[in-house]
């Protein structure tokens, strides 16, 4: 969903390179799913935890309540999916921000591995951390 610009206006060599890379649609699907999940969940979570609770606009939940929500199997699952897909959303979009936005075209491979590698490591870390919550 919502990816009308990326991939357009590339140099012929870059197009050939992308055609070779058959995992591009798969990465795009992860990006797209991440965009949906991030759009639905992050604004409300960031507003409450990052602004409303620290600024005392609203009463934050107690430690027990927050722990109960996060450690509930459904809570863990939602948080894992949110972290996993959001990170791959970031990886894909940030990779193209560097490519199209900042015109960094000579470090393709390095950026590719740093972005998706970062997403893989972050996803594994999220899984581990959500697993070991008491």
């Amino acid at each position: 969903m919502a990816r009308d610009i990326h991939g357009g206006g590339l140099a012929p060599s870059a197009v050939r390179e992308m055609a070779k890379r058959s995992n591009e649609p798969f990465l795009w699907a992860l990006f797209s799913a991440g965009g949906v999940v991030a759009a639905f969940l992050i604004p409300v979570l960031l507003f409450l935890h990052g602004l409303a609770f620290p600024l005392k606009w609203l009463q934050p939940p107690t430690y027990q309540r927050e722990l109960a929500l996060v450690s509930h199997p459904l809570g863990r699952l939602v948080l894992f999916i949110l972290c996993f897909l959001s990170l791959f959303h970031w990886a894909h979009r940030f990779r193209y921000t560097l490519y199209d936005g900042l015109q960094i075209k000579h470090l393709n491979e390095v950026i590719f591995f740093l972005c998706y590698g970062g997403a893989v490591v972050g996803t594994a870390l999220a899984g581990y951390m959500l697993w070991r919550i008491p």
Binding site: M1, A2, R3, D4, I5, A11, G34, G35, V36, A38, A39, F40, L41, I42, P43, V44, L45, L46, F47, L48, H49, G50, L51, F53, P54, L55, L58, Q59, P60, P61, Y63, E66, L67, L69, V70, L79, L82, C83, S86, L87, H89, W90, H92, R93, F94, Y96, T97, D100, G101, L102, Q103, G122, L125, A126, M129, L130, R132, I133, P134
Partner: protein, 141 residues
């Protein structure tokens, strides 16, 4: 008879080349539409920032009530409040641009006709409101 051909061949300077105008690094600063594009792209950084913040919060929760209280106290620092406000603006921008682009990416058809954009955009906003309400209710009740 001596050959006039030299050892190293001389190439003509007229070999074909692509003409490609050099694009400035700051090309996106010239027009509002371009700036909007780059702001939308930069929103991904704040999506990743949110994941980091969430993982830190989960770590504090795992460590116990004291560690969690310290984490909550740290979030009151003006620098972090300002950062979170900026991040909130960007994720909001991401959500709005994402929902508004949905009909352009989906191109649904019914009885041979394109489904009007509003019919795709509106349910997205309704779902966004519903999900946000449920999350807020879970955290505030």
């Amino acid at each position: 008879m001596e050959s006039e051909v030299s050892e190293t061949p001389i190439y003509t300077p007229y070999h074909p080349r692509w003409y490609r105008a050099r694009v400035s690094t700051y090309w996106w600063s010239r027009r509002w539409a371009y700036l909007k594009f780059i702001l939308r792209e930069l929103s991904s950084i704040f999506v990743a920032y949110f994941v980091v913040l969430t993982l830190l919060q989960i770590r504090a929760l795992t460590q116990g009530p004291d560690a969690y209280a310290r984490f909550q106290e740290r979030l009151k620092a003006p620098v972090l409040v300002a950062l979170n406000a900026l991040a909130f603006f960007f994720v909001l921008f991401h959500a709005v641009t994402w929902f508004n682009l949905a009909p352009k990416a989906m191109n649904l058809r019914m009885r041979g006709k394109r489904v009007p954009d509003l019919l795709i955009v509106l349910p997205n906003y309704v779902a966004w409101l519903a999900i946000s309400t449920v999350v807020a209710w879970l955290l505030l009740r």
